[in-house]
């Protein structure tokens, strides 16, 4: 039997667990409400409580593309900076830690399976689950937008929108695996991830007090930690570029660098490579060294 089968067996074990957790259904329920909010309520109330008012900013807005903007708003607005954390971080936070917390790691690691297979099997399952969740959320926003605003266009961009969303979520999952391998406590992982997010918000508050409101507002899209992480490798690829950093601020879609699908994909791919691989490999290092003392 190939070693892939062992990895897949671990992924199945993980999936069975996720499908029986209340938390998974709570998050799916929250996603449904979010889809209603971003797909229907945000355009209906004129974009209040978001950083991207679609109808009253003077920015060119195409209602037929609201399904894309709805997803963007969900991921870029201040209040919804929690969004990828909620989905990616919270779903992945207890994947390794619960095994240590409840000592189920002992029978698992006592099987003829390497720690790499356990780790990669678990992450592979998160990959599939979060891909499904990303597609589901995008689909829900699309359906709600279609029902509330009218016919939506450019549906062929669906995979790309899902890909961007999925990348942001998956980075939180990857981060959760790293922190989980390091501290091996579910509550500590959630605390650290939440602390990271609010640390960024705190920094923005300090910036606002020091330089005025506009400065931190210009950082809003990257305040979402997933964006922040993805932008760093982009700055290496195109040092002079400012890309989408300004894109979602208060409806001013005025990027300094023309964003093409190709360049966007470039930076996301580079970002994913760095921001997924680095925490994942660091997590694997700590997981392989972890001792089961309990």
């Amino acid at each position: 039997m190939s070693r892939m089968s062992q990895t897949w067996a671990v992924a199945r074990y993980e999936l069975t667990w996720d499908l029986r957790k209340r938390r998974t259904y709570f998050i799916l329920g929250a996603l449904f409400l979010a889809a209603l909010y971003f797909g229907y309520l945000v355009p209906a109330i004129g974009g209040k409580w978001t950083t991207l008012p679609p109808f009253n900013s003077g920015a060119s807005f195409e209602s037929s593309l609201w399904w894309v903007n709805g997803v963007n708003v969900a991921f870029n607005a201040l209040a919804s900076g929690l969004f990828p954390l909620l989905i990616g971080g919270f779903i992945a936070a207890d994947s390794l830690t619960t095994e240590f917390d409840t000592n189920t790691i002992v029978p698992l690691l006592s099987q003829p399976v390497t720690r790499l297979e356990v780790y990669s099997g678990k992450f592979f399952e998160k990959f599939l689950l979060l891909l499904f969740v990303s597609a589901l959320f995008t689909l829900m926003v699309l359906v709600v937008s279609e029902a509330s605003i009218g016919a939506q266009a450019q549906l062929d961009a669906f995979p790309l929108v899902v890909f961007f969303e999925f990348g942001a979520i998956l980075q939180y999952a990857s981060l959760a695996f790293f922190v989980g391998s390091l501290v091996r406590s579910g509550s500590m992982v959630l605390g650290i991830l939440t602390g990271l997010l609010f640390g960024i918000y705190g920094t923005m508050l300090v910036l606002a007090l020091q330089f005025g409101l506009q400065e931190p507002l210009s950082l809003l899209p990257i305040a979402n930690a997933a964006f922040l992480l993805r932008v760093m490798p982009y700055s290496i690829i195109q040092p002079s570029g400012n890309m989408v950093l300004q894109g979602a601020i208060l409806g001013n879609w005025t990027p300094e660098v023309t964003v093409t699908v190709t360049s966007a994909v470039d930076y996301v791919v580079a970002g994913l490579a760095v921001n997924l691989a680095a925490p994942l490999l660091a997590g694997l290092y700590f997981f392989r060294r972890a001792e089961v003392k309990g």
Partner: protein, 306 residues
């Protein structure tokens, strides 16, 4: 296993464990709580990284990724823990898949047979969360037996079981040995080890104190003779004098005026007992000479080491 050392920073977990288990035997691993049995087992299973020393199973070093070797080893941890959302049947199927049992039909049959073998047939459809401690131990035993391993490392396998369960598990282990498997049995129930094991290793404070066959051990440990003596009356002065008899290793009060005297060598103590009884105004009513149980020898050993 030679000179195994496992320390947690400056704190020693075990610091000189030597253990040799002959293939096809049931070997007891004895020691008081905290003596390092579980730490040793975890080092063997690659769950803890040894600090120094040598471990070999079937000639191979059992690090965490030694897949071929781990396929030949079944491990029952102390107080095994399984995901509480899985049903008993699902636990075996899940771990069987992870274990690499490729044939689905074979896995289904093996799981069913193992659940029956450990007495969980009727609880196969209950979730682990509904299992008692004893049921979880039985389930752990079934998981350890998955894939028909050559070596079973069992950490307190009768812990939490009712008397019937204890007997069933003992029978199961005897069957495993009769099938040619090797069993390393950690247990604090010395009588169990004496009853079931052909050889034993005694651990104390992270060190191997002694090892050998149960018979050899009895021989090595002071002759292994015990006298059970009943006196007309047994006051503290007489008790103190009994302890001073040459060759007495330990004295345990069994009931009022009855003591068990463990001898450190095969020396007939009866004349001395009768003489001392008379000196203290008492009488020696009866005195039986017996082979000491492993428990008595073990207690003597631990006290002696102190």
């Amino acid at each position: 296993m030679k000179n195994l050392v496992k320390s947690y920073g400056p704190i020693p977990g075990v610091w000189d464990v030597n253990l040799a288990v002959r293939q096809g035997t049931l070997h007891g691993f004895l020691g008081p709580n905290g003596s390092g049995k579980t730490t040793t087992n975890k080092c063997v299973m690659g769950l803890l990284h040894k600090t120094s020393g040598e471990i070999r199973i079937f000639g191979e070093e059992p690090h965490g990724d030694a897949i071929g070797l781990k396929r030949r080893v079944g491990y029952l941890p102390e107080l095994p823990s399984f995901p509480n959302y899985l049903k008993g049947r699902e636990v075996l199927l899940t771990y069987g898949r992870i274990r690499g049992i490729p044939d689905k039909t074979k896995l289904l049959e093996e799981s069913k047979a193992l659940l029956k073998r450990v007495g969980l047939n009727d609880a196969a459809e209950k979730t682990v969360g509904q299992y008692s401690k004893g049921m979880q131990t039985r389930l752990g035993l079934a998981v350890a037996l998955l894939g028909e391993p050559d070596l079973l490392i069992l950490d307190e396998p009768t812990e939490g079981l009712d008397p019937v369960g204890v007997i069933e598990v003992r029978e199961l282990l005897k069957t495993a040995v009769s099938e040619g498997r090797t069993v390393l049995l950690s247990s604090h129930q010395l009588s169990e080890v004496q009853q079931m094991c052909s050889s034993v290793t005694v651990l104390k404070e992270g060190r191997t104190v002694t090892e050998g066959s149960v018979e050899e051990l009895a021989e090595r440990l002071h002759g292994g003779i015990i006298y059970k003596a009943e006196f007309d009356s047994l006051g503290p002065d007489l008790m103190n004098d009994l302890k001073r008899i040459d060759g007495v290793s330990a004295i345990t009060t069994m009931e009022e005026d009855v003591v068990a005297i463990l001898m450190s060598r095969d020396y007939d103590v009866r004349p001395s007992l009768a003489r001392l009884a008379v000196q203290h105004g008492s009488l020696l009513l009866s005195c039986d000479r017996e082979e000491a149980s492993l428990e008595e020898l073990y207690l003597s050993l631990v006290r002696e080491s102190d």
